[in-house]
């Protein structure tokens, strides 16, 4: 699940940080005294990082109890634990 959320986040980022959506922010105006394009790029960037951190860390805390190493366990167990 976490993996899928991150992949979705990747798709979102790839769309927002590319043409043609990028063109929406590509205008000669300012926001808080800073050109809109810069604000847009940094805000999207920071948001991606924040969402990624939230996705990863939140899940990890909940997982940590279950993540005791099981050497030699069957692959099936792992794929189960991983998802």
């Amino acid at each position: 699940m976490r993996r899928q959320r991150l992949i979705a986040l990747f798709v979102l980022g790839a769309l927002l940080l590319n043409y043609p959506l990028l063109l929406l922010a590509n205008r000669a105006e300012s926001m808080f005294g800073v050109p809109v394009l810069f604000v847009y790029l940094f805000v999207v960037w920071a948001a991606l990082i924040g969402l990624a951190a939230w996705t990863v860390e939140r899940r990890r805390d909940r997982d940590s109890g279950r993540r005791t190493p099981v050497r030699g366990g069957s692959p099936a167990q792992h794929s189960g634990a991983r998802r």
């Binding site: 976490r2 986040l9 590319n18 043409y19 394009l37 810069f38 990624a52 030699g72 692959p75």
Partner: protein, 960 residues
């Protein structure tokens, strides 16, 4: 300005500090208290991505192109979002196969191919050398700026006074110290990683420091900077991106290149995959590393704008703004800090890149070449581990010096960023074969080789070659006019495609050719056995690895049974000893044997032990970490007597699809079996239905019989009762009439008792076969019966002829029953014989069976009556049935019970004979029956076994 000696001293001090730190980390690693076992250290070590290019070049690019420099950092952010699947899978594969470089990765995936390993190494070196030159240029350039000396790195400068040369030598030594301390089974360099992580902190702090200084000390915050810049019309182009395909293409190309580079550059693969100690660290790096990138880029634009506003246009190289601004403002110590930051970025890159390349060069170029050229003589040297180390040290030195050479000859003319992008484009050539190899089992060795060769040829022609030509001034014409003057071959506008910048153009064409060849050739070539096995173990790595085993040394060899070789333990030990050193080889084997005992008996006689396939695998894996998977396989082959691996075995072991197929085939068989069983059940059900129907028919017949019998019984009863009532109610009945009525009552009673007797006989015959079988003389029985029926005949005036003297007709049977049959037939004949001239003949004859069966006695009773209609010939033998076709004038019922013939036929059949009738309408009827004759045995006893199944030898059933 600072004096050179101060700068040099500070630099050396810093490098010494790093060295101390790394040694400490190495020592702690040996003691088992690793400092790199933290996810933050892993994330920071990834930041080796940020080189001098980032540190100086980003500002330079931002000052000329605006925001497009950000793509180099947005790409890795996106890639890291895929880290949970992509990077983790790479880590897992590499750990499982003990891969030590990206060349090893590609070579191993496509059948442990030495050719591919070498190819990747060559490409990596070709891409990295200019990149190293970039670092040298940055270090010597900024040193020049800081000390105010002349423009560095020019060709006429003598070697002894070129700071670039000293920088190169120092960096090479440092790399050798950390990268080739000893040969390690995992090829991890904890000290180096710790130093890199520390350097990442230093460069971030230094850059943030200068950023804060420029933004808040020199100017009044970000808003102030941007509003001042907005006032300058010549800077407006930095705030928006130009529209048009060139701008779009550039943006997309840089994004794609940087996405690939963050994992595929040799040094990135080294820190992200090879140096990873715990794959869970990847999870934190997913956001921590992008956060680092964001922070280090936060002040790039402010610094660029500050420099552009501060210095008159064109007087200062924008690449050096981070240094020149603090210097110009009179803060030399800040400038020194920035220089140290830049030095960190450069040294980090050079060290990791050269260590990674040295591993690749020794494992995938030099060792295979030595093994091939010198063959056995080389591999028989006692201790090759020192050789391997020497090769690596030499490789590091060579790569750094090559970088220096490039820097001296070419790099001076180019901006930092464009050199770096060329290296990125080279690394991007690995993307199809690596990603395809991880997710597409069908990718073949031939596909990978052609993809790499094709991609690199296009890359070389479109990117570094024109740059070299323009920089050196040699053959410049081919850049502008195309090779041989063909416009279609212009390296920056292949086939006339000139809508893109050179980097986007080169990226597009090289990746197009690369991917097309990879997919196309793969689809038209086949994989070998080993190649397929490797492909499966890469793509389906999760089935092979223990996910949570921390640094799976133990789990690494489990379940890999493609190689079915066996070898003498001593041979293996000697081989490992030559490459790893005897001590480490012994340690490794002892550890392995402790965990996996070979054989209880053999432990004390280890010398003659045969290593099993698992141990051979283990040895190969150990060796692979020292000399690469392709060479390790070749070496192992020299001591192992490998049993040929059958394709079906490999498939059975490794190919899950195969298993699934087999499983589904079993399912199919099962369902077919079920189908068959269902059909059988169906058949059984049908049979049951038939039987059931027959049973019901029997039931119905019995019911019918019972109701018929009751009906037949009631008829005489009714008449008896009627006459009796008449006589009771009329006492003064005329005596004559009374006598007549009483006669009727008596006759009906007789009939009733006869009927009941018949029914009882009938029922009895149903139950028993032949109740009381004895030998008897048929002729005697006939005479006896004739005597009994004589009155009946004489009353009706019917003549009876008996012709029974010819044969000794001894049969076996129940005399009473046979007599009853005769009686029934004779009475029947008497009744139906002609009224006026009635005549009945009885005859007995012996009937010989032509087919050799038992001889039969045949008895015929013929009358000369009306005869029986052919349609009645069988019906009359049914219970309560009588002939329906009667002669006119004989309307009244024949007065029988309707059971006589049915009973007779049963009796005859029970005796093993047949009863039938032959008749022509108007010409009388002949009832005949057969009985098996008793045959006189030789010993005089008489055997009489009725043969139930015997076909009647007579004229049959008289079918018309």
């Amino acid at each position: 300005m600072l004096s050179p000696s101060v700068v040099v001293a500070a630099s050396l001090l810093y490098l010494g500090l790093l060295f101390g730190l790394a040694s400490l980390a190495d020592r702690r690693a040996d003691q088992g208290r690793s400092v790199v076992g933290r996810s933050s250290v892993y994330a920071l070590s990834l930041a080796v991505y940020c080189t001098a290019w980032t540190f100086f070049g980003s500002v330079g690019r931002a000052a000329t192109e605006g925001v497009s420099f950000l793509t180099i950092y947005l790409g890795p952010t996106l890639t890291l979002l895929l880290g949970a699947s992509l990077l983790r899978k790479m880590v897992r594969i590499s750990r499982y196969h003990r891969l030590t470089s990206i060349a090893d990765f590609v070579a191993s995936r496509y059948g442990k191919s030495q050719l591919l390993g070498g190819l990747v190494t060559v490409i990596a070196v070709a891409g990295t050398v200019p990149y190293i030159a970039l670092q040298l240029k940055a270090v010597s350039g900024t040193f020049g700026v800081l000390t105010g000396s002349s423009v560095p790195g020019t060709v006429d400068l003598p070697l002894s006074s070129d700071t670039g040369f000293y920088a190169a030598v120092i960096l090479a030594i440092f790399a050798i110290l950390f990268g080739t301390r000893h040969l390690d089974a995992t090829e991890r360099h904890e000290g180096m990683v710790a130093a890199i992580a520390f350097e990442s902190v230093v460069k971030l702090v230094a850059f943030l420091a200068v950023g804060v200084f420029v933004t808040f000390a020199m100017y009044d915050g970000v808003g102030d900077l941007f509003s001042r810049a907005a006032a300058r019309t010549d800077l407006h182009h930095l705030f928006v991106m130009p529209s048009g395909s060139e701008s779009y293409g550039e943006w997309a190309a840089l994004l794609v290149l940087s996405m690939g580079a963050v994992l595929l550059l040799p040094r990135q693969f080294q820190v992200a995959v090879v140096e990873n100690v715990d794959e869970r660290h990847v999870l934190r790096a997913i956001w921590l590393f992008p956060l680092y990138l964001l922070l280090i880029n936060l002040f790039v634009l402010p610094i660029a704008l500050g420099g552009l506003l501060y210095f008159p246009e064109g007087t200062v190289d924008a690449d050096t703004f981070v240094l020149t601004l603090p210097l110009a403002e009179g803060h030399p110590l800040l400038a020194l800090l920035v220089f140290i930051g830049g030095l960190s970025a450069a040294t980090g890159m050079v060290i990791v890149a050269t260590v990674a390349l040295a591993t690749m060069i020794s494992n995938d170029l030099v060792m295979p070449a030595l093994l091939r050229v010198q063959g056995g003589s080389f591999s028989e040297r006692a201790d090759l581990s020192q050789w391997v180390l020497r090769i690596r040290r030499g490789a590091i030195l060579a790569v750094v010096l090559l970088g220096y050479l490039y820097f001296r000859l070419v790099a001076d003319a180019q901006a930092l960023v464009s050199i770096g992008l060329v290296a990125f484009a080279a690394a991007a050539q690995f993307a199809p074969v690596v990603l395809g190899g991880m997710y597409w089992k069908r990718g073949t060795w031939a596909g990978a080789v052609s993809a790499l060769v094709g991609g690199v040829l296009v890359w070389g022609y479109t990117l570094p070659l024109p740059a070299l030509a323009q920089a050196s001034g040699v053959a410049e014409g081919f850049v502008t006019d195309g090779l041989f003057g063909w416009a279609a071959l212009r390296p920056h506008a292949l086939l006339g495609l000139d809508a893109f910048s050179p980097i986007a153009h080169g990226t597009f064409w090289s990746l197009l050719v690369n991917i097309s060849l990879y997919v196309g050739v793969s689809l038209f070539t086949r994989q070998g056995v080993l190649e397929h096995a490797q492909a499966v173990s890469f793509v389906d790595i999760d089935r092979f690895t223990d996910l949570s085993a921390p640094s799976g040394a133990a789990g690494a060899t489990a379940g890999r049974s493609v190689w079915r070789g066996t070898a003498l333990l001593d041979d293996l030990r000697a081989l490992l000893g030559r490459f790893l050193g005897p001590r480490r080889a012994n340690e490794a084997l002892t550890t392995y044997l402790a965990a996996h005992p070979l054989d209880e008996v053999a432990l004390d006689a280890e010398a003659s032990l045969t290593a099993d396939a698992d141990l051979v695998h283990h040895a190969e894996a150990l060796l692979a970490s020292a000399i690469g998977s392709a060479s390790a396989r070749a070496m192992i082959a020299t001591v192992v007597s490998e049993e040929p691996v059958r394709v079906d075995e490999v498939l059975a072991i490794l190919d899950e699809q195969q298993k699934t197929l087999a499983y589904s085939r079993t399912l199919e068989e099962k369902s077919a079996e079920l189908q068959r069983q269902t059909e059988r059940l169906e058949a059984a059900r049908n049979e049951l239905m038939v039987v059931n129907q027959a049973l019901r028919e029997v039931d119905r017949l019995r019911d019918e019989f019972v109701s018929t019998v009751t009906h037949e019984l009631r008829t005489p009863l009714t008449s008896i009762r009627a006459f009796a009532e008449i006589m009771q109610s009329t006492p003064d009945l005329d005596p004559g009439q009374r006598a007549e009525f009483l006669g009727i009552v008596v006759a009906e009673s007789e009939r009733l008792s006869r009927l009941i007797g018949d029914v009882l006989t009938f029922q009895k015959l149903n139950r028993h076969a032949v109740p009381d079988a004895r030998p008897l003389d048929l002729e005697a029985e006939v005479r006896e019966t004739v005597r009994a029926v004589r009155p009946l005949f004489s009353r009706r005036g019917v003549v009876l002829d008996v012709n029974a003297t010819e044969c000794p007709c001894h049969v076996e049977g129940d005399a009473d029953q046979i007599r009853q049959v005769l009686y029934n037939l004779l009475a029947n004949a008497a009744k139906h014989a002609d009224r006026a001239l009635g005549r009945v003949r009885v005859s007995i004859a012996e009937l010989r069976d032509p087919s050799g069966g038992r001889p039969l006695a045949r008895l015929d009773v013929s009358d000369n009556g009306f005869g029986i209609h052919p349609s009645d010939h069988e019906r009359i033998f049914d219970a309560f049935e009588q002939a329906q076709h009667r002669p006119t004038g004989q309307g009244e019922a024949p007065g029988g019970t309707g059971l006589g013939l049915a009973i007779s036929r049963r009796i005859v059949q029970a005796h093993g004979g047949e009863l039938w009738v032959e008749s022509d309408l108007g010409a009388g009827a002949t009832f005949s029956f057969t009985l098996p004759l008793l045959v006189a045995e030789e010993d005089g006893t008489q055997a009489a076994v009725p043969t139930p199944g015997l076909e009647p030898a007579g004229p049959g059933h008289a079918a018309p």
